[in-house]
Symmetry: C2
Subunit: 346 residues, 2 copies
DNA sequence: TTGAAAGCGATACCAG
DNA sequence: CTGGTATCGCTTTCAA
């Protein structure tokens, strides 16, 4: 039960060092002694004390995860990917919700430091760059969707938002949509700016003047999607399609459209972003741009453990920036637009 | 930076013991020495090493949370309640996903034990009772929604499922519904059995023979809600209302109903259970029985920390069983039933 | 190959 | 009230 390696050594009739060697798989132990140790461990139901091990080795086999909010389906799926990978590698995970709040982030970072976590996955940091740099000198950090274009020696993982918006617009374009409005994210976020740039570039590349309904900025919750859609729909020149920066806002937009007695997709098409679970449950089911949330989580862990590994063995590998691809998921919230031209078979 | 209390003692010109006393808020330190220590801490940017403290005190100020799946909105909201409370009390949280799998649960329990967590919140354990008892002798455990009626010295937190179903049925009854079908949970779960008992009791208390469409058992995901609804709708004697064991299955049922060209709530009313975020986003918005998920998380932490406290001070308080209340959230998936009798003003 | 002994960084006791 | 010291359980030299 509550016993130590010393007890194991005594019962097994070997020394403490030998027990340690067996536990750590060091091959210099004779088979006879191995067996003695294993038997003693079994008999005493021994399990090692991580605090002691951590104190000595300065490695805890724990990592920290800081995300804005675990109760947001986007982040919970990411977190699931992280946790599964971490677990598979024999690590454990500290969960921290930052609420997009720099002070809370800091507090967690300090706590994780004191707990000697081996590394940290930081999703959407809100701290000033210098501070992140400062922390990153003290433990390995992987930055996910940094929100700003920082390059500070940390590994960075992001999603190709430029591509995602191109995929959405190309799809709508092929369905004959031209007047396409956008409900974007907050202006301070890098991924949001990427998407807006992509939106503008698209129409330029099609040699088409920018659609009148234009861009509205929301806050990623469904209320703001609802509000933005209402502003857009109040304009004279109504869009035939709306593209939203996340699924929740897309669903809010659908609500706004339906409340006006219009139909999605018959009157107005809507396309979302993220592909959270709700997307296949709402009515109509939502055509959307999938972000590889779970895979992103797995990849973050892989990156982080590599970095920890390399840091431990002294050789510092160069920081890696990974950009993951999006994918369009076709469901029922987009249909052929008959307003602009003659109907075309699809 | 990377310095110890010894360094602080040296720089501050005091002894190690004094530094420790300051850090632990022991009031016997003179103000002059306090200041010296504080200044030294500041100057060195010292932060304590939790591994060492844990090793010595056998307390880590960490707790573990084992839930089936963080990516399920029901559990993620619960987890959010847990994490917020834990954080407020100066603890940190290990997140573990059991996937309703006893072997995984065990593995996590062992890991948490080695990490010397001060306690554990275990949501829906799938291990045999004796095993839980065994573990509970080694650290404080709070059991949430145990799934079986076990009484083993642990604190237990559950939701009054009997009440919840009564609330739903009473509401439907007042809207003139009589033929009410139920999509229940799996048969092995206690809360599921409670709900079925409540369903049966209700009709007995109303002196009404049990409705023909009866009960179907699902698996809590929306596909199984869809399948169960189809089985129910294929029967000769169609229900006028369906009550589901969670919101996801309710939404699946709504899909099945709509695919048959029927309307919710005009033709068939549906009522859910849980009140997850999606409930207010789907079409129609879902009338449902709210479980106080976040509050349950907070309460679990309060219970656990009390128990840890009492265990540390030697006095063992009796295990506490808390039953939280449900609440009906009225939205748009239920309407007055005109089939059975004359229309009645509501 | 194995065993003895020196820490890791804190806490807590006891003497002064 | 303070300072010295043993101790928590493990890893890691270093001799033997």
């Amino acid at each position: 039960m509550n016993c130590t390696m010393k007890d194991v050594a005594r019962v097994g009739g070997v020394s403490l060092g030998t027990v340690s060697n067996v536990l750590n798989g060091i091959p210099t132990v004779t088979e006879k002694n191995r067996q003695k140790v294993l038997a003693a461990i079994q008999q005493l139901n021994f399990s090692p004390n991580y605090a002691a091990r951590t104190l000595k080795t300065r490695r805890s086999r724990c990592i920290g995860l800081i995300i804005p909010d675990i109760n947001n389906p986007f982040y919970s799926e990411f977190a699931r990917g992280v946790e599964d990978s971490v677990q598979a590698m024999g690590y454990n995970l500290f969960l921290c919700n930052s609420d997009r709040n720099a002070a809370k982030e800091r507090e967690y970072m300090d706590a994780l430091l004191e707990r000697m976590v081996d590394g940290l996955i930081l999703f959407k940091t809100h701290m000033p760059v210098e501070e992140v740099v400062d922390f990153s000198s003290r433990f390995s950090i992987v930055l996910v969707d940094t929100g700003r274009d920082i390059n500070i020696g940390c590994d960075i993982i992001k999603v190709d938002d430029y591509l995602g918006v191109q995929q959405a617009l190309e799809y709508l374009w092929n369905f004959n949509h031209r007047r396409i409005a956008m409900i974007a994210g907050t202006k301070d976020s890098l991924s949001s700016l990427d998407r807006i740039r992509s939106y503008n570039d698209f129409f330029i590349s099609k040699k088409y003047s920018l659609p009148a309904p234009g861009i509205q900025h929301g806050h990623y919750d469904w209320h703001s999607g609802y509000d933005c859609a209402n502003i857009i729909l109040d304009r004279e020149n109504q869009p035939t399609a709306i593209i939203a920066a996340n699924d929740l806002m897309a669903i809010g937009a659908i609500k706004a459209i339906q409340e006006r007695g219009l139909s999605v997709p018959d009157d107005i098409s809507v396309i979302g972003y993220d592909d959270i679970d709700i997307a296949s449950l709402c009515t109509p089911t939502l055509t959307t741009i999938r972000q590889p949330k779970y895979k992103m989580g797995e990849h973050s862990v892989r990156c982080l453990l590599n970095r920890i590994e390399s840091r431990n063995s002294g050789q510092d590998i160069a920081p890696i920036i990974t950009t993951l691809k999006t994918e369009i998921i076709v469901r029922n919230s987009v249909s052929f637009c008959e307003t602009n031209t003659q109907r075309r078979s699809v």
